[in-house]
């Protein structure tokens, strides 16, 4: 059962990703990215990482996509007027294909016969306890980094009159 669901979700995610980098319409590209990100949330649910799945839905599908659509609209994305790919397209395809072959063969041979066993889902209580005991310093550092990024983004995008 899990295998069937995973296969369907993986095929959908791959379709969304490929359409994102090949579509002519940039807004459609953002919507194809939604498919892939939602698929990732389903995979997180399948691997029993419940909290990460909901964070994925809230932050990526909720916030990041809206931000990207605003970015497309504020920069008046040209649709169908100019070529969307640059001249390095062939080299890029070669590099990406080679990278896929390399990563997939290495991981396929390295993790042969390793399996994901499904025992019990991770509760957000467990995750919170780990986060606020052992990982509290990285957590604080990340929060300071987010603040710095926020201030930096405001200062960059502000018009100085």
């Amino acid at each position: 059962m899990t295998k069937v669901v995973f296969a369907i979700v993986a095929a959908t995610m791959a379709f969304g990703a490929v359409r994102l980098v090949t579509t002519k319409n940039l807004v459609h590209g953002a919507l194809y990215l939604v498919i892939t990100l939602l698929g990732a949330a389903v995979v997180f649910l399948l691997t029993l990482a419940e909290f990460v799945a909901w964070v994925q839905v809230l932050i990526y599908v909720g916030a990041v996509i809206v931000l990207l659509l605003f970015g497309l609209m504020l920069t008046r994305a040209p649709i169908g007027k100019t070529a969307l790919d640059n001249s390095q397209r062939g080299i890029a395809a070669l590099v990406a294909g080679g990278l896929f072959l390399l990563i997939s063969t290495v991981t396929w041979t390295a993790f042969d016969s390793q399996r994901i066993e499904f025992i019990e889902p991770t509760t957000s209580v467990q995750l919170g306890e780990e986060l606020f005991t052992k990982m509290v310093l990285p957590f604080e550092i990340v929060s300071v980094l987010l603040l710095a990024a926020l201030v930096g983004a405001v200062i960059l995008a502000k018009r100085d009159d």
């Binding site: 899990t2 995973f6 995610m13 791959a14 990703a17 490929v18 994102l20 980098v21 940039l26 990215l33 892939t36 990100l37 995979v43 997180f44 691997t47 990482a49 990460v52 994925q56 990526y60 990041v64 931000l67 990207l68 970015g71 497309l72 920069t75 008046r76 994305a77 040209p78 969307l84 790919d85 640059n86 390095q88 890029a92 395809a93 590099v95 990278l99 990563i103 997939s104 991981t107 396929w108 993790f111 042969d112 390793q114 399996r115 994901i116 499904f118 025992i119 991770t122 995750l127 780990e130 986060l131 052992k134 990340v142 980094l145 990024a149 926020l150 983004a153 960059l156 995008a157 018009r159």
Partner: protein
């Protein structure tokens, strides 16, 4: 479920992201491709956490950190893109080549 399936999916998503970064012209699409690559890494982290049955949940916590960093990166990246658009009325990466060797 064999863990290789998950690794194959994430390798594919990462490679598609690399293609998008290298071949696409619009800066916002390049940012989207970067999100794709970060998501592939998250899939790997959560998958390995499930494979190792890690009680400390390091994989999932790192996935959460990666999501946070991706949001911060996207905010600053879009601010830069909008600034470039305001100055040059284009977000085509080919035309923004002042600092290119």
């Amino acid at each position: 479920m064999p863990v290789q399936w998950l690794l194959l999916l994430s390798a594919f998503l990462f490679s598609v992201g690399v293609y998008g970064v290298l071949a696409r012209r619009n800066a916002v699409i390049v940012l989207m491709s970067i999100e794709l690559m970060l998501n592939a890494v998250n899939l790997n982290l959560v998958g390995f956490n499930a494979m190792l049955q890690d009680r400390a949940l390091v994989g999932q916590l790192f996935a959460l950190f990666v999501i946070t960093i991706a949001a911060a990166e996207l905010g600053v990246g879009l601010a830069i893109v909008i600034l470039v658009y305001r100055n040059r009325t284009t977000v085509s990466i080919d035309e923004v080549s002042l600092m290119k060797w």
